[in-house]
Structures are given as C-alpha cells and as structure tokens.
C-alpha cells in the first residue's frame, strides 16, 4: 500500500492542478452598472512578438534539433536528450506559452496554400519545415527533445504498459484522420482545431477553458500508464514526421555494435516502437505466397478505397462544413429563424448588428460549403489511401535480424540505448570487441536484479 502512495499523491496533485487552473479561468469582475464618469479606454491590440525574437525562436528550435540529433545519433545520450526536452518544455512550453508550435503550424501552412489572402509568417513556415527536415535525416528527434507536448508527457511516464499491436495499429490511424480534418478545416478557413483542442497549452499558460485543462490533465494521468498518449493517438504532425523518419538515413540505433538479442531494449521502450527480429518461420514460401496474395489484394483495393473515401467524403461535406462559423450561423438562422429574437444568442446578435444582410451570409456560407465539398472529397480520398497503405504494410515482412527501432514510430528518446548493455560497455571504455557470452551473463544478472526490484 505504501508503495502506491507516491502514485496516488501524483494523481492528487494533478487533480489539484486541474482545480486550481479551473478556478483561474473564472469570469472576470463586471463593470459597475451605473454611470461612474469613468471612460473605458479603447482596447488596443497587443504588441506582436518582435520579429527578432521570432527569429530567435527559430534559432532555438534549430539549435535544439541539431543538439537532439547529435545526442541521439552520435553521442547516444539518453540523459542529454532528457535534459534537452526539459529545456524545450520550459522554453517552448511555459515561456513561449506553447505557441508557436510545429504541430499547429500545419494549419498555417494549409491555410496559406488554399487562401491567397493569407500570408504565412516565415517563423511558422520554418517551425513546420525544420522538424520534418531533421526527421528526414535523423529520425524524430523533434519528438525526443524539441516538442514541449512530447516532453511534458515523457516526464510523467511512470509505469507504462504494452498493448497489443492491433490496438496500436488501429489507434494509430486516428492521427491520420485528425491530420486530414485539421488540414480541411484550416484550408477552408473554418477553424484551427489543433490549437483549439491542444490539451497542454492550458497547462503551459496556467490558464484556459475548463475543457482544455481537463483534457491536459487527463492526458497526463493516462500518460503515466500509456506513454505519450497524445503523440501516439492524436498528434497530426506525428504522421508527417513518421513518413519522413521512415526514410531517415542516420536514425538512432539501439546498439552501436552487434545485437545480442537480450530484449532489454524492447522492455525499455514505453512506446512499443522496437521491432523484433523477423523469424524465418514468417518467411516460408507458404507464408510468403499467402502474404503476396493479400498484398496484391490490398494494392488493388487502394484505388477502390480512394474512390470510396472520396465519395463518402463528398457526402460528408454538409455536416463537416458546419464547423465554419458562417455556415453554422446561416443554417441556424434558417432552421430556427425565431432565434433572431433571442437577445442572448450573441452570435446572431453580433451578425445582426454587423450590418451585413442575411443574403450575404447565406451566399458566403454557400461558397464555403462548396469549398468543403471539394476538400472533403480530397480528404476522403486521402483517408482511403492511408487506410489502404496501412493495410498493405501489415502483410509486408521485411528481413530483420536484430531488434531495431521502428523508424516511423520511434520518438528517438534514447531509452533503448540507455538500456543496451553493449552501449553501457562502450561508455565504460571497454574493448570494442565485446565478449558476447559475458554480456549475456550480465544481462541475465541485470534482469534478475530488476525482477527483485
């Protein structure tokens, strides 16, 4: 029971944080209801962050990415990556209030592509591109040490559990849908849902709507047992990073030398991102033939899924477009015209006071809906394609002799390196030519110590 006290205490503190933050978000005190003679000053637009400081943020990001890549690939330092992630949490999270962030920059990029009137800032563009570039060469070092969202979740990993791969694969499809939706909504100028539902920005700012704080706390509580839940189940930027990382040439490796197949690395990885050696049993002619048939089936299925997804996407454009405030308002006023009289409906009252005619609103909404029709078609096709490729990948068994990090899923956190007995021998300056048998013996000892602990 006593052993559980720290965990219980942690839950308590997180609950308290939730309560405190919720209280912070209470309504402000209203103005007096009678004439005091006091003149309200005109509201002023807050000063944007100075351009030089924005560039400084980019430099910091560049430096962190470079350092993280060096620590992951060359230095192989888990400790270094950990402290770098703490720095990023403090700087990009608490100091910069979680904004600007590479995850949210997806939306800026999407909007700038589809809305000629929107000029993306160079900072946002670089925040979007730099992590992808680094992932293309060094793997997801951004996730390891530069992302504040990842860092805050990484710090609360206490007792992670491994879950069956079919659940992981199925949950892993959610980020693809989230990415598609966030691009669609951003491209149509409807909403930046990644920012709106960023679960941790409320914690970074020590303020925020109840739902935001609640989500953040929930993710942190969940993250104690299911490591980095947001990264693995929701992060839309992770999809892009994963694609880039799969092609990375200098990705982190578990062992610097020969793998002794001790499995310590697999046990150490809280994200189930270590791939096991593919046994010869899976590469028999019978299995290969079966997989080939299925592979061809999925190849043929991909165009069907694209078309089906596109068709269903286009059918979904009506309800999807209601995310856009103009469409929502226009439909609300059409379906419930009596609400025009509702003085408490601020959206409608604000529109009525805007001077625009209802016809203008409806016309505008119709234009947006048409954008959604096209966008949803593409989005549906994309989801169909992603589903097809994911299915196809399930029947591909690549030759693998050693335990290796899954280049797409690996966050390059370095835990596996830290646990690798070969790596620890190297760091102690022992001979490069390791005695495999003696190492295996050490591993067994290490495991027995763990089991006693």
């Amino acid at each position: 029971m006593l052993k559980k006290i720290p965990n219980l205490a942690l839950i308590l503190i997180l609950f308290a944080l939730l309560t405190g933050s919720f209280l912070q978000a209470q309504q402000r005190f209203p103005k007096p209801e009678f004439d005091t003679g006091y003149v309200q000053p005109d509201p002023t637009t807050p000063e944007p962050r100075a351009m030089a400081l924005e560039y400084f943020d980019v430099l910091v990001l560049l430096a962190v990415l470079s350092l993280a890549s060096w620590l992951a690939v060359k230095k192989r330092s888990r400790r270094g990556l950990l402290w770098l992630s703490v720095f990023s949490l403090i700087y990009f999270g608490f100091y910069r209030d979680g904004c600007i962030c590479s995850i949210g920059a997806i939306q800026n990029v999407a909007l700038s592509i589809f809305d000629p009137g929107y000029a993306i800032s160079i900072t946002a563009l670089l925040f979007f591109i730099l992590p992808l570039l680094f992932a293309l060469f060094f793997g997801r070092t951004f996730c390891a040490a530069a992302c504040p969202l990842g860092a805050i979740q990484d710090l609360v990993v206490i007792n992670p559990v491994s879950i069956p791969s079919w659940i992981r694969k199925t949950l892993g499809f959610i980020p693809v849908i989230y990415l598609a939706l966030s691009v669609l909504f951003a491209a149509t100028g409807s909403d930046f849902i990644i920012c709106r539902y960023d679960p941790f920005v409320g914690i970074f700012r020590m303020d925020g709507p109840f739902l935001m704080i609640f989500l953040g706390i929930t993710f942190l509580l969940l993250g104690m047992f299911y490591a980095r839940p947001y990264c693995r189940v929701f992060c839309p930027y992770g999809v892009l990073l994963s694609w880039m990382s799969k092609f990375s040439k200098w990705h982190l490796s578990i062992t610097p030398s020969e793998c002794i197949k001790c499995k310590l690395c697999k046990d150490s990885c809280p994200f189930d991102a270590i791939e096991v050696p593919v046994e010869q049993a899976y590469r028999t002619p019978e299995v290969s033939r079966k997989n080939l048939k299925r592979f061809i089936l999925y190849i043929g299925l991909i165009p069907v899924l694209i078309l089906l997804g596109g068709w269903i996407g286009s059918k979904s454009h009506i309800f999807l477009s209601r995310v856009h405030p103009d469409v929502y308002l226009a439909e609300l006023m059409i379906s419930q015209p009596e609400l025009k009289e509702d003085e408490e409906n601020l959206d409608i009252q604000a529109f009525l006071e805007s001077g625009d005619t209802f016809e203008q609103l409806v016309d505008q909404a119709a234009v947006i809906r048409e954008k959604f029709r096209k966008g949803s078609l593409v989005m549906g096709g994309f989801i169909g394609l992603a589903l097809g490729i994911t299915l196809m990948n399930q029947v591909v068994f690549r030759r693998r002799e050693d335990y290796e990090p899954h280049k797409g899923d690996c966050f390059s956190c370095g835990r596996c390196m830290d646990y690798c007995p070969i790596d620890s021998q190297k760091s102690k300056g022992e001979s490069q030519k390791l005695n495999v048998e003696s190492l295996k013996l050490k591993v067994e000892n290490q495991k027995s110590v763990k089991s006693k602990g």
Partner: protein, 617 residues
Amino acid sequence: MKNNLDQEQRISLAHRVALISGIFCGVVALLLILNFWHMKQHEPLESKTIEVLVERLSSEPGNEELKEEIRSFDLLARKAYFTSRWQVKTGTWLLLFGGIVMAASLKVYTDLRARIEAPEKVTEELLRARANSQYWLMVAGGLILGFSLVAGYLSNDYLKEYQAMGVVEETEQPQDGIEVIKVFPAQESADTLGSDSAIEQEGASGAEAIEGAGDETETATQPVAVQTTSRFNRDDFKTNQATFRGYMGQGVSYHKNIPEKWNGSTGENIKWKVAFSKPGYNTPVIWDDKLFISGGDAASRVVACYNRNNGQLLWEKEVTGIPGSPAAMPRVTDDTGLAAPTMAVDGNRVYAIFATGDVVAFDLQGNKIWGRNLGVPNNHYGHSSSLQVWENKLVVQYDTNTRGRMLALNTANGETLWDVERPVHISWASPALIEVNGKIQVITTADPYVSGHDLETGAEIWKVEAMMGEVGPSVAYEDGLVYATNEYARLVAVEPKPGAEFTWEDDEYLSEAASPVAYNGLLYLATSYGVLVCYDALTGEKQWEKEYNEGFYSSPMIADGKLYIIDLDGVTHIIKADRSGTVVADPELGEGGFALPVFADGVIYLRGMEHLYCVGE
C-alpha cells in the same frame, strides 16, 4: 555494501520527498477547494445587496448618498473578489511548485527502484498480430466511413433548401406606396378586363358542374363600372360569410338548413366542384352570389371570383403592379404558402393579403381598386393572419419577427387610418371583432399579450399576459368573455377590460392552429393531434372530449346549432353544439382539408387541397 546502503537511502529520501510534496500539494489543493466553495457560497459577483441598491437607484437616479453606498459595497465586493483571485493564483503556483518537486522525486524514486519504463510483457505471435491488425483496421475504417456516410445522408442542407426557395427580404413598408386606381368609366373598365380574358375563359371552362348548374351566369367580360360608394350594413355580414370565421371573426354562422351528408369522392350531395389555378390555404369568403378565394405561387398571386351557385369562374386577377412588391418571393414553408390569409369582402370590395406583404382591393367585378405593399414580412413560415373588415376599415394584424404591428387601412383607397406598434412577438393569429358597450374592439392574440384595441384609433384598451410561443389560434368571444389559447401556453378566459385577470384557465388541451369557438355557453377547442373538446364557457369545466385519428388545423364553425370541423384528412365532423356532444355525421370530402367550412342557406362550401366543393342536398 556501502553502495547498496546509499541506494536504499536515496530511495528512502526520494520517497519521503515525494510524500511530503504530495501532502503539501494536497493541503494546498484542499485550501483551494475551500476557497472555491466559499466563493460559490458568497459570490461577490452576485451581491444581492448591490442588486437591491442598484434597483433603488433606477427609481432615485439623483440620490448621491445611494450612489456612494453602492460604491462602497462595490469596492468591498471587488476587494473580496480580487483577494480570492490572488489566493487562487498563489495556490496554483504553489501547487505547480509542489508538483514539480513531487514529479522529480517520483522520477528519482522509480528510477532507483529500476521499475520504471518496464512494459508489461505481451508475447504476440507475429502473423496473428498482423492479421488482427488488418481485421481491426478494416473494421475501424469501415465504421468511420459508414458513420460519415450515414451522417452525410442525414444532414439536411438548409442552405440549398433556402436558396431554392427564393429570397427573403426585410423591407420596410413604403409608406406612400399605394397604387390607387382611378375610377374608370365603363368603357375603360371593359378594356382593362379584356386583357385578362384569357385567364377568365380558361378558368371558366375549368369549372366542372356536378349537378344542376344554374342559369345565372355572369359574363365575365362584360364591362362593369367601378363602385365608388361604400355601403355598410352589419346584417349583411351575418348573411354573408365575408371574413375569416364569419361574422366578426367569431366562428358562428347564422345560416340554417345546412347539409349533413355528402361524399366528395362519390359526388353525393356535391352540387359542383372546381379545381383552382393556384394553391392557397385560405378559406373562401362569399358575398351574395359571389365566392372569392385567393391563391399564389412563385409565379403569380391571384384573386378569383366564382359564381357560388354553379361554380363558374367569373374572374381571376393577377395581383401585379403594386409598388414595393418584392421581385422575388419571400421564403415560406409548404404548409403556409404565399396565400394563407383569408380574404375579406364588404359588399363594395374584396380585399386580399399575401405573404409578400401585398394588400390589394378589387371591386366585386374584378377591377383593381388599390394595392399597396406593407413591407415583406419577416415571417419564417409565411404571413397567415387573415383580414378583418368593418365599416371603412380593413384591419391587418402584422406581427412579424421584426416587430408587432397592427394597421387599419381605408377600404376605399388603402390609406393608413392608424398603425400601432404592439409589444408582442410574431404571431399567425387573425384579429376578431367584439362589441363592448357599443364600441367595436379588435381582439388580437400573440406572445405574450391577448389585447383589445379600439377599432376607431387602434389604441390599446386592455391587454393581459397570457400567451407564449408561436401563436396561431385566434380568439373566441361570447357573453363578455374572450377565450385565447396556444400550444405550450394555456387556455384562458378573460374579460375584455383593463386590468382583467383570468376568469379561468386550463392547460389540458391546447390548440396549435385551430381557433376556439364559443357558442351557447360552451367553448369548443380542437387540437393538432386530433382531440375535440368542449368546456363550459363560464367555468372552464370540461363537458366532453372526442379523439380522432387525424388532427385539426382548420377551426370549428357553428352553424344551425351544430359544430362543423374538418380534419386534415378532409373528414368533416358534425356534432351537436350542446353539452351532449352527440355526433351527427362524419362526411368525407375525399381530399385533405384545412380551410373552414363556409355556410350559406342550404349549402356549404369546402375547400380541399385541390378542389373547391359546393355541398347541398
């Protein structure tokens, strides 16, 4: 050994730090919660004292002492509020600090115990795992696509529907936009009418005489001089069902010898029936031998006149050339349409109003006398309040989403005699007239007031807050009591005088569209879900109720001591208008019914969805 001891000590230290910081956080959290609870109990934002004082200030705006008192209370409340905010903020920072210490010590503790980051071992057979993944991916993908498809099909495209319907305008009334037609000499009238001869001929040939079409045909193209003088005799309004719900809009006919049996499908007791050219939900009105109906669609709005003895179309006129009339039709729902209001006729002219806001007057020969647009009503179903006419006043209840309003127009030229703004929401009810102490009052019902207005000036004489929601039923009146009802509101009986309170009220059965009718000390009410109920008009005691399969949008009418009401299926329920509620007959029209029965001696005129019927034995 020394190292092991150090390890144990470090574990113990980390454990203690975690525990202490956890307790610290717990205490702070408890204080925060207490603070929160205290603030909830004594919310400075909602200080009752300030509220009362501010209320007092509104009646004593110059009271400086009171202002000073409010300021001091306000200051106190602000101090309490901001102190609490400071406590919350400080507490949160303390929590954060405690949390960091605790997370760090926990991290050290778990690291030292070497239990961190060791996932549960799950041994999976790779092929099976991959097969499972494929299966669940397909299931999940299928569910997502299926859900999207269903949601897509279930989503109503309001924008498309709206744009298909036309254009909504919220135009203001053009005050001077009355087109008054000069009084034509007979020859000019003939020329004018000649231009409409095509419609008339076509319409006339469309009349299908069922039985004994009379010889009294009127040559539609015959030149007729426009009537210039007005006559008014209230007895004429008793002998002619000239307005919505007959004489004074009270739902009682003075005709006898009314048929009780007919069948629209077989032609039993159907003297004639005609198909009309334009849809409309209005009830026909009659004057002498003429019967008038209106209709309209996006293409045009028309007023038609039939010879009520044989169903021959005497004339049909398009309503055109009205200044301010919208080029595109306002959006209306299918169950209201553009021609829902019942016309009014006074022996001199026949008056019609449409959902476009167009009001038009024709003489009984079909010459347009005047026309004006009252401003396209901001009405989400479509304007449906019927016209009421008395002496030289055409009363228009014009409660829209923009404002509550009632007007009286000069029947001779359409000029505004009075125009009053009413503190009510939009309504679809029609004005009724009552006579109190020798003066005629216009009685209206809307959310929230049932009110009486002086017919001469439009001035409000009395009002009582009784209604809510979208008011459709008009009022009933008998023996000094006005009866009003609406769905989701109540049924009330009220004396038409200032300061009146409810004589009685009830909410068991409420009407959505059908208006109640009072007759011989009984009140009858029909609901949209098919219940017809009778109350004692003085006490509100229920006398009987009958439930039918179809609901009622049409209102009950009393004629010859019997109640006639048509359900949505076109079945007319005839019941003795007394406390027995004896069913007399349930003749069928053969098509859906919505309009009220129109009575004349020995005949009933019924408007179905497609045809106008004359029923007579």
